[in-house]
Each structure stands twice: as structure tokens, then as C-alpha cells.
Symmetry: C2
């Protein structure tokens, strides 16, 4: 494969070539292990050490901001469909979701499944919902586990886990399965806004400590379809989402969001039946660190040889 970028490439082609080249270099260095599907990779021990180092810096920022207040909770990558329904994710991002099905039939039904499989036919029709969904955002499983009435100081959660989004891409920074570390606040509206606002400079500081140049930009989620365009405009107008972006591909793109800070207003409070201390529907906000994206930003900024990274960066990572 050639990694040249001839002058006659269109901007889109040049960006695609840069993404492909970066992915090839990551694979050749053994940091990512291809699985044959775009966006799904194994990770080397060295890559995992980078992830752990990034988390070291994030945890330090979390402690500086909140002390020991956030309750640490970790969820597996699947959660109940009943809770997924309450997120309304299927309305806004159907194309990114992952629903889980399994086989719950008898011997005869299993023989029918295997006969289709032998014949090279799809066998999904023999499966039924497992009652679970893949987690789309690390904080999603949290809301159902919160008290139904939040105390006056609000609830803080430290959540970290694997997320799934079905958006195959040659861009290594757009993975189908990736980790997100979040600090989530649930309480009143002022507290939620403050949480979001304060985590923007904190997030920028974490990235700066890691030697990354990042910008905070107003952003919107990639809501699906025509109706989604209205949601996106509203989100921008209400200034609900701020992304911290790093230019992984120089001037070829507007940058890659590696952290996002979000006000959810009363969306989760309403759907999960959570009240704030003053009796109103609870508001929530979160900051999410995209672990793989920050790792890739570090690798493209400081080089693929992690042992040769600048001393202050390695120190911030506890390496």
C-alpha cells in the first residue's frame, strides 16, 4: 500500500489517505491489531499502558476537582434494554446501536438454525432478544442505579467502561468499540451547568499536561436523519455540548473530539424518574474522556515510540 498523498487528491481523499496511513503505521508498529473489520482492533500491551497512563492523568484531575466525593462505579459492556429504552438513544442514533440477541429455542429449533448455517444462509432469524443492549455511552447504565431523589449536593459518579457504536471507518479514531471515562453529575440545573462548565478547562488542562494542543468548540451530536438535524441545531443553539478537539490530521480536518462535556438538561432525570432536592426533575451533566482517541492523539503528536515521549508527558501519565 502506498502512503503518498499526491497533489491531485481532493481534500476528502487526502483526509482518507491520512487516516489510512495512520492506521497502517499503528498496525505496523504492533500497537493495534487488525481484526478484518473497520473500527475493531486488538490492542497491544504498550497501547494499554498508554490508556492506563491517560487514566492516571484523568484520575488526578478528578481528585483535584472532587476529592473522594465521586462514587466509583464500573459497568460491563451490556446493560438492560429497559434502561436503554429510557435513554431514547434508538430515536436519536439508531444507526449506532447494538442490540443483543441469543438463541432460546429447543433441540429442534437448534437443528433448524444449524441447517441454515450449513446451507450458508443467515441464522439470525432463529435468535430472540436477550433483553440487553450494548452500552453506547459509559454513563447510560448509571442513571437507573441512582437514588430517586437526589440530595442537595447532587450525586457524582466516576464511570469508566467500554462503549459500542456501529460506525465502521478506516479512521483509527473512529472505533466501533472504545473506552470512555466519565464524571457524571445529577442534581439541580445550576449544579449540572457548573459541572459541565468547570470540566471544560479541567479537560483542557489534562490534555495540555499530556502535551496535546486542544480547542474547546461548541458541538452537536450526530443525530440521525431529517428530524435529527433539528435536534442538532437546538443542541448548538442551547450550547449543550462542548467538545475538546485535537488535530490528528493537521489541517486536513477540523480536528477530532477527544473529550466532550455535556448538559443533558432534564432528559435523563425525566426518563429515569429522578428528582432533585428541590422536588424538580433532576438535571444531569457529564464529561467524557475518549480513551482511545486521546491515546491516538498522543501517538500522532509524540510519535509511536512511547518510551521516547517527553519526560513531562510521561510524568503526567505516571510512567
Amino acid at each position: 500500500m502506498t502512503t503518498d498523498t499526491p497533489a491531485e487528491l481532493s481534500p476528502t481523499e487526502a483526509l482518507d489517505a491520512a487516516r489510512r496511513d495512520f492506521r497502517t503505521r499503528l498496525i505496523d508498529a504492533g500497537l493495534l491489531i487488525p481484526t478484518g473489520l473497520d473500527g475493531l482492533y486488538g490492542r497491544s500491551g504498550e497501547f494499554e499502558a498508554v490508556i492506563e497512563g491517560i487514566d492516571h492523568a484523568i484520575r488526578a484531575a478528578g481528585r483535584a476537582a472532587h476529592g473522594e466525593r465521586p462514587r466509583v462505579v464500573r459497568f460491563p459492556p451490556v446493560f438492560p434494554r429497559a434502561d436503554f429504552e429510557k435513554t431514547d438513544y434508538i430515536a436519536s442514533f439508531p444507526n449506532l446501536t447494538g442490540a443483543i440477541s441469543t438463541f432460546d429455542g429447543d433441540n429442534k429449533a437448534h437443528r433448524a438454525l444449524l441447517a441454515d448455517r450449513e446451507a450458508g444462509l443467515p441464522w439470525d432469524g432463529h435468535l430472540a432478544s436477550a433483553g440487553t443492549m450494548l452500552v453506547s455511552a459509559a454513563c447510560h447504565p448509571t442513571y437507573a442505579t441512582l437514588p430517586k431523589t437526589i440530595g442537595p449536593d447532587g450525586e457524582l459518579r466516576d464511570v469508566y467502561g467500554y462503549c459500542f457504536r456501529h460506525e465502521p471507518s478506516i479512521d483509527p479514531a473512529r472505533m466501533q468499540a472504545f473506552r470512555m471515562h466519565e464524571y457524571v453529575y445529577v442534581g439541580d440545573r445550576a449544579g449540572a451547568e457548573q459541572h459541565r462548565d468547570q470540566w471544560v478547562p479541567r479537560g483542557l488542562q489534562v490534555l495540555s499536561d499530556l502535551g496535546l494542543e486542544a480547542d474547546a468548540v461548541p458541538a452537536n451530536d450526530p443525530f440521525f436523519g431529517r428530524a435529527g438535524r433539528i435536534l442538532a441545531v437546538n443542541q448548538l443553539e442551547e450550547n449543550l455540548k462542548t467538545e475538546l478537539v485535537v488535530r490528528l490530521y493537521g489541517d486536513l480536518s477540523d480536528g477530532t473530539a477527544v473529550v466532550s462535556a455535556n448538559c443533558h438538561r432534564d432528559h435523563f432525570g425525566e426518563n429515569f424518574g429522578i428528582a432533585s432536592a428541590d422536588g424538580d426533575v433532576a438535571n444531569s451533566a457529564c464529561v467524557g474522556f475518549g480513551m482511545e482517541r486521546i491515546a491516538l492523539a498522543l501517538l500522532t503528536t509524540h510519535g509511536l515510540a512511547t518510551s521516547a515521549w517527553p519526560a513531562p508527558v510521561r510524568a503526567a501519565m505516571g510512567l
Copy 2:
């Protein structure tokens, strides 16, 4: 909920009561966070520290056994369906699998999905395969990434990740989503047998260092259906699977498998097209440590207050 175990309970009822009681105590202590679905739990920070401590002991055993030879690889909880197919898992354990589907339609199709959802109808019929499956055993994604011809010393992999098995249960030791740390060998038959055989005493030593009483017993997988019974008998007769079991519920059960050491013969070598150095189809073997089960064994053995665990146990965990 009462947790008494009156004398008139049948052995099955008594075991169920013990499992339910253990689960209630874990939840009351905040170590597990219920999600409303049997077998799916959030984990507290303290629980996660136990998992990390167990892994500390496992890594020490891995280093003592293999030095730096095993290549560390980490896979996300989903992997390509094409590779899942090669494991033949759908033939042997259809009831445990997790297939992933997503929405790949247009605006109109999405409106139809949402209309069904509004009407309270299932909306799975609007989804299509995402081309991925949940990982059933941590080693499964590894085989497709191995060289097609293995060198004379064999290949060693250190694999760790989340696994999914759809078997809802009130037993906290039977989770739908749990972590498994494996050492995998792929090479010739003698090497595979040696790997399996040597990891039985090593696994027992790890458990002993953690203050757990365990027994090594010949075992078989829970193959599905009538045909599966023959597979299970063969597995036992050929002595392919050894489980290390700990009595989580005293004499009420035969014990819970917390580690398993397995010879796969040429199953994966054949299906993934891997040859050993001598040109034969490669054999493989693995040892898998069930992280959540070992954590639960520790909690029932040493008590729910992890800071009060015996000093030698905490030392083995690097605590």
C-alpha cells in the same frame, strides 16, 4: 426478603437460598450494584480493586511461568462474526451466545421502527446484523490474529477481556458479563498438553496464595442439547478440561469453577487455518481465570470487608 434456611428446604432450594443470600449481602455492602437483570451488575471501586489485586497475583504467576514471552493482547468485548463462526460456538452453546444487530435503514425505515416502539411492539425486526458477536471466551478473538504457521516454540498470548454468556441466574457467580484472564498456547500437540498440564498446579498455587481452598477436577463444558451430551462425554473421556473449583456455598454444591485449563486439540488450528512448525494442524490450549468468580470466592472466604483480609492475601494482591 428473609435469608433464613429452614430445615425443610430441599437441597436445591437450600442452594438457591444460599446464592440469593450471598447476592443480597454483596448488594447491601455496595460491592455489586443491581441492574434489575439477573447476572448483570455494576461493580464498586472496592470490587474493582479486588479484581485488580487478583490480576496482580495472576500476572506474577504468568511471569514466573513464561517470563516476558507471552504477547499481551487485549480485545474489545465484540469481535467479527466471521471469526465467531470459526469457533463453532453457535453449534455447541447457542443458548449462551450474543449476536449484535443494529439499524441500517433510512429515514422511512426509522419512522417505522419508532412507530412500533411507540405502540409498545418489539422493534428488533427493524434491525440487521452488525457483523459482530459478543466475545464468549476471552481467547476467541485471538486465533484469527495469529501467524498462519507457528514457530517451533509455539505462540503464547496473554489475553484479558470481558466475556458474555446469556445465562441469567440468581447466583452472583454466574454473571452474564464477566472478565477472563487467559494464557493461550498455540503450537504442537505436546506443547499444548504441557501448557494445560502445567497451568493446573500454577492455577492452584495462585488460588492458594489468595487463601482459597481449591480442587482440580476433570470437567466438561455445558454443551447444548442431546448431541451436546455426547460432546460432553467425549471431553471427559479424553480429559480435555480441568476446572479448579472453590466451594462458595459450602456443602450445598460441588463447588464453583473459578479457573479452567483446557486442551482444544486441533479445533482452532483447523478452523482458523493455523499450522504448527512441523506442518501439522496446530493444537492449542488455554488457562482461563474467571476474575469475578475468584473475587466472589475471596469475598465469601475472607469476608466482605476487604481491608480486613489476611495480610498474606493482601500482599499476594499487591495491596
